[in-house]
């Protein structure tokens, strides 16, 4: 939310006017603010009440906001009287009052507060922000509007709320704040690569689903890196009327981020420091050596094989020192050896530290003079990764995982004349991300991290390591790997080198704002903007290899030996790389805003913009040009109408298909401004709004220029003598392809009750057609690879849903105030056409896409009503059951339902299970905030629902390598456990893939969850102490992020439901303390 303090604020106390005139003025001002009906009653009371004379005294006070910043121009009147004043530029006032008077303090955008005058002491009155603030200005596409006149579906979140997170990234901080916006950390929490997946109102396309993100009006990709302290407000534009101006790029919704500006007044310096301890939300359960061996034996027996670990071996691990004579001279050596040979290692914990620190520092100054407003910010973040690496002193390089970022911003507004303003925004960051080497082996650093976690999870607790010990043929500390693994986590993490990437970014933007009211016509202004961004990265990587040994243990003789697995030993060699890209954006616009008479407000906007940029990987720059326009009309602030138009060209399409026209229309009706509701004190606000329009989407994945045949000459030899080149036939072109077209309808209702509660409800439908898809109903034998068949605009997806937002804010008394915010978004999409071939009649479901949600999960239904409640309990039962096409089931495997009754369980029996694996159908969040005296508290919960995933593969199941076991395998099916009626959490363990390891309603799991996202408890230090220290305000706080899951439907106990890859870097949990200081 962007607040603007009204410029018309008049320090009434300075005016030499009769009191009654002042009052009328005050009331008029209140009147224009529409909601402030309470003071009017005060005025009405005034005439028919006679007040007895009482003793008077002069009181002084200061009015401050929640950040303890003074509020100039706030109105202070004595309740039940006409007497009043307003605060001066420092927020101070003085007033002569009677002893038992009650002061009523109000200010636009804040909840009016009544305070009895009790003593002579100076008053300090803190006003609480009002969510129903209608004077508030909302950032909309290419402009701003007063909230009162907004008729698009737009949600906002203030920077104050966002700053309550300990996340280092803005996109992660959005979770739970905005109705209909999904922010999931599905990629995990790897430092420097821990961004969120964003969906707005779910998804309505199979192609690019992410919303368009603009920072200060320019498309920028640094939502991941922007310092949250730099953000003034964030607007989320959802419906066609809000996004049509973005034309071909707006269909997935738009997120607008606005950075902070200075405000007139003395320089204000604010410093904050914050220290967190990061751990993971979920860790794999500890599996002890003997547990491992028992589970492995179980798996072997279940798979018809002999046990791998006889009891004598298990006993060695249970009691490694058995049989040693403490008085023997080589007892110490033997003991060391035995403990090493028969370990109970927790490789995960050895490689992954439990806690790692994170530091955030920030300082900003803002202020303004008649000539210049300024906001200056500097931020620093040090995010540690949880890898337990060896010391750089020992290694000679630092492979540990961390990220450091320095951010700087300077936003300056120059008032060159009364009608001319120039604004310069410059922001930059330098980020350094360090981690173990990626080398040529891994496709990305994420791949390296997931391999590292994979190796850590796969290393058996019975394996010695992670390095050699001396006295057994080799030196101490050499790399150890295992015959069952290609590498060890210890090796990947420590001994392959390091990877250090420096990312740098510069965002610059100059805006000229020229009021043409006097020159041409009142209300007209022109604006020009040029923005230039650069981004570059450079990389330094040191790669090395060390020889790898394996250990050999002879159980019979307790012998330990090493042998060389791989003798490759290469010293550290450095390589460097760098890349850069840029973006240029021009915008020129004309704006018109004028009131005709006192009833007709007309605004207009026309803008031309042009963007061109380069992407790191693309060889050809991108180009977009467009025109957009908006016109609004408001009659008496009751009837609102708005038209938005976007006209864009996208180079993605053939010349005759290049430009598109995207209109949207909306109407609003503020019923509470009608005379019959105007004075209603219960229903204080009622607004109905609706919009319809068309918006486009030109995101088609990374492929570009799809209208052209992608036939190129590439270097490659297949046969000699033919020129060392080939003709690569890629995707064939289709000259007719064009953008996706979204037809969006939105109906909204806003209700305000009393002055405390506001409820907003939005219902939307979106019919997206012309979705560019690959035709499926083409046989492969025709010879064009299916991936190369020309794409066509034939996909259709329908999406609909609703959102509810609720705000409640109340000052209970002088010491206690509470606020509640809640939001819920529901969406459901359905693929209408994806050119899917109809399957044969013996399929239970003949379509798997059409008629279902995008990425609906499919699987076999387990017969939970079978004799063994879902598990086969006898060979007889298996033989009498429908046979499995994919493999023969064993006792303890799942019983699948033969849905089509053909006696065979195969693909044809698959049914939809759960929900979509990519787009959650429900997203919700709620915040509870409160202040009591000097304490404040804020708790944010966020959750997702109607969300599923098929969990399979390494990190999930037990068959990886020579067995990898997690918590849920401990209670796997055994005959004994079944007969005893014990809890069974997993089918019978196996050594290889079996019938149970298929998509079914066990491995397709519900990912719904509700988590405590953020919690913060603060304490503001007493003034007298601070005065002594020379500090304006100081607040200390502690809290945390992702502290716990209140509800988690996942059956897997060691994975966070928010994370996609079971082997990915896990999601972080933070506990933090910090302080803010204002001078």
């Amino acid at each position: 939310m962007k607040k603007s303090r009204p410029k018309q604020a008049i320090p009434l106390s300075n005016c030499k006017l009769p009191r009654i005139v002042k009052l009328v003025l005050i009331c008029l001002l209140f009147e224009t603010n529409l909601m402030w009906v309470e003071p009017i009653y005060a005025l009405q009371e005034l005439s028919d009440q006679e007040k007895p004379l009482q003793r008077k005294k002069t009181i002084q006070g200061i009015v401050i906001d929640e950040n303890d910043l003074p509020i100039p121009g706030a109105y202070v009147i004595i309740k039940g009287s006409t007497t009043g004043t307003s605060t001066d530029i420092n927020g101070k006032f003085s007033l002569e009052v009677e002893e038992d008077a009650v002061l009523q303090i109000s200010y636009i955008g804040f909840v009016t507060q009544s305070i009895p005058v009790e003593s002579n002491q100076d008053l300090k009155i803190k006003l609480i922000e009002d969510f129903q603030n209608l004077e508030e200005v909302v950032v909309v596409g290419y402009g701003e509007q007063k909230r009162v006149s907004v008729i698009g579906a737009i949600s906002t979140v203030s920077s104050k709320d966002l700053r309550k997170t300990t996340s280092t990234r803005l996109d992660n901080a959005l979770s739970g704040h905005i109705a209909g916006l999904t922010s999931m950390q599905s990629g995990g929490g790897q430092p420097g690569d821990d961004g969120a997946t964003l969906f707005l109102r779910g998804a309505a396309t199979i192609n690019g689903q992410s919303p368009l993100i603009l920072i200060d009006g320019v498309e920028r990709d640094n939502i991941h890196t922007i310092d949250i302290n730099e953000v003034e407000s964030l607007s989320v534009l959802k419906d066609a009327s809000a996004t049509a101006v973005y034309g071909v790029r707006g269909a997935n919704g738009v997120i607008l981020i606005t950075t902070r500006k200075g405000t007139k007044g003395k320089p204000k310096l604010s410093i904050s420091m914050d220290e967190s301890w990061t751990s993971f939300t979920k860790n794999p359960e500890r599996i002890h050596s003997w547990e491992f061996m028992e589970m492995r034996n179980q798996a072997k027996v279940n798979s018809g094989q002999e046990i791998e670990f006889p009891e004598s071996v298990i006993n060695k691990y249970l009691n490694p020192l058995a049989g040693l004579d403490p008085s023997s001279p080589n007892y110490e050596t033997e003991k060391k050896k035995r403990l090493y040979m028969y370990p109970d290692n927790d490789y995960y914990r050895m490689q992954i530290a439990e806690y790692t620190p994170q530091t955030r520092l920030n300082a900003n100054i803002s202020g303004g003079t008649d000539l210049l407003d300024y906001f200056l910010n500097a931020g620093y973040i040090n995010q540690g990764g949880n890898l337990n690496t060896e010391s750089p002193d020992y290694l000679g390089y630092d492979p540990s995982s961390w990220m450091q970022r320095i951010s700087m911003r300077s936003n300056l507004d120059f008032y060159l004349s009364k009608s001319f303003k120039a604004s310069l925004n410059i922001a930059s960051y330098a980020e350094r991300v360090n981690m173990p080497a990626k080398g040529g082996m891994y496709s990305s650093t994420t791949h390296m991290m997931s391999d590292l976690i994979y190796q850590a999870l796969m290393t058996k607790p019975i394996s010695p390591g992670p390095t050699t010990i001396s006295e057994f043929g080799v030196e101490d500390g050499l790399l150890l790997s295992y015959l069952y693994l290609d590498r060890s986590a210890f090796e990947v993490m420590n001994r392959r080198g390091f990877h250090r990437q420096d990312n740098k970014n510069l965002n610059t933007q100059l805006t000229l704002d020229w009021d043409l009211s006097k020159l041409i016509t009142p209300g007209l202004s022109a604006k020009g903007m040029v923005a230039y961004d650069t981004y570059s990265w450079s990389l330094l990587e040191g790669l090395k290899r060390e020889a790898i040994h394996i250990s050999n243990i002879i159980y019979a003789t307790d012998e330990l030996m090493y042998e060389l697995k791989d003798p490759t030993w290469t010293p550290l060699s450095l390589s460097r790389g760098h890349s850069s890209r840029y973006r240029v954006n021009f915008q020129g616009s004309l704006n018109y805003n004028r009131m005709f008479g006192d009833k007709h407000r007309v605004t207009g906007m026309a803008i031309a913009h042009r963007d061109y940029w380069e992407s790191t990987s693309a060889d050809i720059p991108y180009n977009v040009i467009g025109l957009s326009a908006r016109a609004t009309y408001a009659y008496q602030d009751r009837y609102l109408a708005e038209a938005n138009i976007g006209y864009n060209g996208s180079e993605q399409f053939a010349p005759r298909k290049r430009f598109g026209f995207f209109p949207a229309f909306s109407l609003g009706y503020i019923i509470s401004n009608e005379s019959f509701l105007k004075d209603n004190t219960t229903l204080t606000w009622l607004k109905l709004r609706g919009s319809w329009g068309k918006v486009g989407n030109d995101k088609m994945g990374s492929a570009r220029f799809l209208y052209q045949d992608n036939i190129t000459i590439g270097g490659r030899t297949d046969a000699g003598g033919l020129g060392n080149q080939t003709i690569n036939e890629g995707l064939l072109g289709n000259l007719d392809i064009t953008w996706e077209l979204a037809k969006k309808l939105n109906v909204g209702l806003e209700v305000g009750l009393f002055n405390d509660l506001k409820i907003t409800f939005d219902y939307f439908t979106e019919n997206r057609d012309q979705i560019l898809i690959t035709r499926q109903r083409v046989p492969q034998y025709q010879g064009v690879l299916l991936s190369n068949i020309p794409k066509a605009n034939i996909g259709i997806v329908h999406n609909r849903g609703y959102e509810i937002e609720l705000f409640y804010n109340k000052g209970i008394n002088r010491d206690l105030s509470i606020s509640l915010k809640g939001n819920l978004g529901f969406n459901k999409n359905k693929i209408i056409n994806s050119d899917e071939p109809l399957r044969t009649e013996d399929y239970v479901y003949r379509y798997r896409q059409q008629g279902f949600s995008i990425n609906q999960c499919w699987g076999y239904k387990i017969d939970w009503n079978s004799k063994g409640n879902g598990y086969f309990i006898s060979q007889d039962e298996i033989e009498n059951h429908a046979s499995y096409d994919f493999s023969t089931p064993r006792i303890g495997d799942f019983v699948y339902l033969d849905q089509n009754k053909d006696g065979v369980i195969n693909e044809k029996d698959m049914v939809p299970i759960g929900y979509s694996s990519s787009v959650p159908g429900i997203v919700y969040g709620f915040t509870i905030g409160g202040e009591y005296k000097k304490f404040d508290m804020n708790i944010l919960f966020s959750g997702l629902g109607r969300y599923s995933m098929y969990y399979m593969g390494d990190g999930v199941i037990e068959t990886s390598r020579e067995g990898a076991y997690f918590g849920w395998h401990k209670n796997a099916w055994t005959k004994e456990r079944w007969e005893n009626g014990e809890e069974i959490t997993y089918p019978a363990l196996s050594v290889g893939k079996n019938a149970s390891h298929n998509p079914n309603d066990f491995f397709i799991q519900n990912r719904s969850f509700l988590r405590l996202k953020n919690m913060e408890i603060g304490y503001t230090l007493p003034d007298n102490l601070l005065k002594f220290m020379g500090i304006g305000k100081m607040r200390i706080y502690m809290g945390g992020m992702n502290l716990f899951l209140l509800s988690n439907k996942l059956k897997i106990t060691h994975l966070d439901p928010e994370q996609n890859n079971p082997l990915g870097y896990p999601i972080n949990r933070n506990i933090n303390i910090g302080c803010n200081i204002n001078f």
């Binding site: 020129g588 080939t726 690879l785």
Partner: protein, 640 residues
Amino acid sequence: MKHIRYILYTCILFLAGSACSDELNQAPSGKISLEEVFEDNERTMYYLNTCYSKIPNKGVRYFYRSFGPVCWSDDAWDADDMDVNWAASALLYNGNASASSHPVWAVEGENLQMSYWENYFAMIRSCGIFLMNIDNAKVNNERDRRRWKAEAHILRAYYYSELLKWFGCDLPIIREPLSLNQDYSSVRRSSYYEVVQFIIEDCNAALAIDELPWRITTSADALRVTKAVAEAIKARMILYAASPLYNNGQNYWEEAYSIIKTSLSNLRSNGYELYNKVNTPATFSDPEAFLPNTYAQLFNEYFFSSAAYSATPVDKETIYQLASSQGNLIFLDGIGAIHGNKSGTCPSQELVDAFETIDGQTILQLSKPYLDEETHLQPNYNPENTLYDPQNPYENRDPRFYASIYYNGSKRRCGWSFDEMPNNYENYPGLSGVVRVRIIATWAVDENDPSAGSESRTGLSATARSKTRTGYYQRKFSHPFTGIGQSATNARYKDFRLGEVILNFAEAAAEAGHIAEALQAVNEIRSRAGMPDIPSELSKEQLILRIRNERRVELALEGHRYFDVRRWSAPDGNLAKTDRWVTAAYITRRKDGTYHYDRAQVNGNERKCYTNKYLKVAIPLKEINNIIEISGENWQNPGW
């Protein structure tokens, strides 16, 4: 004045913003159209190069250094069978195959060449486009034009032959590429035999072109196809077409006989002959190469080498060798223990049983090699064989046995990565990293210490990737001395060699009743290996069994057996007798240091990939569903 300046600036910004739509015209990207390809000599040539791009690499490059069909046949067991869930062998052994996910095509091979159905049809289309355009393409030299055209014909025949081998079903013959807007409901399939006729037609079209050479004589032309390749494709595919699984009840043996006879004679008259001499005796005849005679030496040398491109090459047998080196087999598909890595292909006891004794007697009775036909634990010994001693089984065997297989007691001189342990007295003491002669011990259990399990490095193991599943390791394709610190990666997979064509001929001749010619051909193979002739008095059926056994021995571990046992099967048959139970040598080291030889089932598990449906690979279900919807016809192979 000031204001005017502002107006000016604003206008400039506006103009920049609304600049004309030419801005959206794309910068040059290097894309060209198909028409432009054939308007240029070089590009036309590059397009032919593209037609080569899906020639598979085979050998160990089917899938992560796995020998693919070798391990999926009864010749071997893949040591990547237990804990590597995604490995194709493990999936097949467990019967984890369906029409929606079949390991043979669903796993991505190296070079992404495993999606055979889609990729080979794509290449057939490319060859078709090339053949449609080559006559009118701008080609500077008419000789080039004709040679290129011939190559495209052969490549199309090759891709069709690979489709037939794997899928074994009727296929649409696509001479001219189908259009994407075509009505596919009218596309019909031709029978296996008709497709083979089309392959032969393509090969003949190439053979009729004078500019196409018989042999590649310069390494600049490496990997290009020749007339010899055309003949070899014909010879292989007509043999397949005549075989029981594919002949549709027709007898095509006489036709096969005559086609292969012509091919063979053309190959011979154009300089192709069997490899019959040790060319680098310094290596292969070294006593420490442990190859007992020149036959074994030349056989081992042949498979390790890469054929030179020369008019007078040393290797006149290889007709077509594939592009990629087979790499250092010892690390990834040989004695994995040398490097602590994976052993991959472990030759089976069944394969070992197929090697005759040096007197030309089979070990088992070929008509019924095992008394318990499905479990293979009771060998049905050939009573006429007097040389074979089951307790000393590796003496007096076919020289090719020593060149192809490492067994318990084989020796190998190279650098080993480990220290020997005292209880491995065969090799103790022995230090890691030191080049030394090691006796390869594959015993499964030591009577002195039964609890200690098998030989710790190279012994039988049910789980370790580096150890053998069967008691044997692959030796064919391996250099005698590679080990720690010594690398040799020369071996190239020989997709067609004269030896196979001769065996194709022997089989077709015998089936067609030309017994004398069949005998002569099979004996030619045997004499090159130092084996005595097959007696001439055998019945046709007995002769066919001997020829099939000869084929197994000669072509062992080369990937033919998987296809052979299938084509020899009846359409309603299965592979229970060969593929269901694959056995290992179960060797006990006695207290006195001698060995006791027994047999055991690998892992105690049967393979589930022996049933009728495994005779042919499933066509991807997605494709089948599409075809059914388009034309109402079900193209799927039986059982899938």
